[in-house]
Amino acid sequence: MGNSPGLSWGPTVPREVTVTGVYVLLAALAATAALGGAHRVLDGRLRTRTSQDDLRPLVPGEHGERATLLQFSSAFCAPCRATKRVLGEVADVVPGVTHLEVDAESHLDLVRRLQIHKTPTTLVLDDRGREVLRAVGQPKKAAVLAALDVAVAS
């Protein structure tokens, strides 16, 4: 046990504290891995919903013949832009599917009715305007494509 080398001024501290620093660093890395992993898995995950409400009259715009990707966005939302790009690409590629984007802050009635609490939130609507799937956060393109098989089949 001795004093750690370093600055000759200020309080001297026993060597053990530096080892604690390593432990704190490892704990921080572990916490990051856990939180980051959870975020990767959960964020933008498409979850099944059941609803009988036809949303087409409430949301102006071109709804898809087979499905609609309805995205709620807001200002200062970087993931919203990425989601817009992903959903736009999907709508371009899959026939009968359109992408509609709604600004949450100017559609508060709709936001409350649909219980939107975060942006981006994406609703997958079937051909009759009913919500069949929902993703809170930025969805992955492959997941959206797979989800459309469900929406089109129902």
Partner: protein, 144 residues
């Protein structure tokens, strides 16, 4: 609204993570750890005004080697996140200088997790705080 390349704050987060990791490793000399944190605090303060030295490094050294960004993002949330980092860095520096090593670890550890999450997964916790604050002060009382 000021728009920035979204890769810039993530690059800065990697550098921040490295600095904070070094702070933890040299915590055996708390004055050195405090001094490093104080320097990082200056970087945070500059970053909150859009003048981050890490951002400058990104623009001059890294970005010329990259393709154009696919999209831009608003500068306001990441700049606010720098203010949050500033708070933690100041708290940590004061703690280490005062010999409150455990408090220094807590401040540094939390800041490091936030920086690492931002760098590795693109999850900006400070940005989420900013959005929450905006919702609270929105005169329309938005719930989203």
């Amino acid at each position: 609204m000021n728009q920035i390349d979204p890769r810039a704050p993530r690059f800065a987060a990697w550098l921040t993570s490295a600095v904070l990791a070094v702070v933890l490793l040299v915590s055996g000399s708390p004055d050195l750890a405090g001094a490093l944190l104080a320097a990082q605090a200056v970087v945070f303060a500059l970053g909150s005004r859009g003048r981050s030295p890490y951002g400058y490094l990104f623009r001059t050294v890294v970005r010329p080697r990259l393709a154009l960004p696919t999209e831009l993002e608003d500068a306001a949330p990441p700049q606010f996140a720098q203010l949050v980092g500033l708070g933690f860095a100041v708290g940590g520096a004061i703690s280490f200088f005062a010999g409150a090593i455990v408090a220094g670890y807590v401040f540094t550890g939390f800041a490091l997790v936030a920086a690492l999450l931002n760098a590795s997964v693109g999850l900006c916790l400070g940005c989420e705080v900013y959005l929450f604050y905006k919702r609270l002060t929105n005169p329309k009382g938005a719930t989203a």
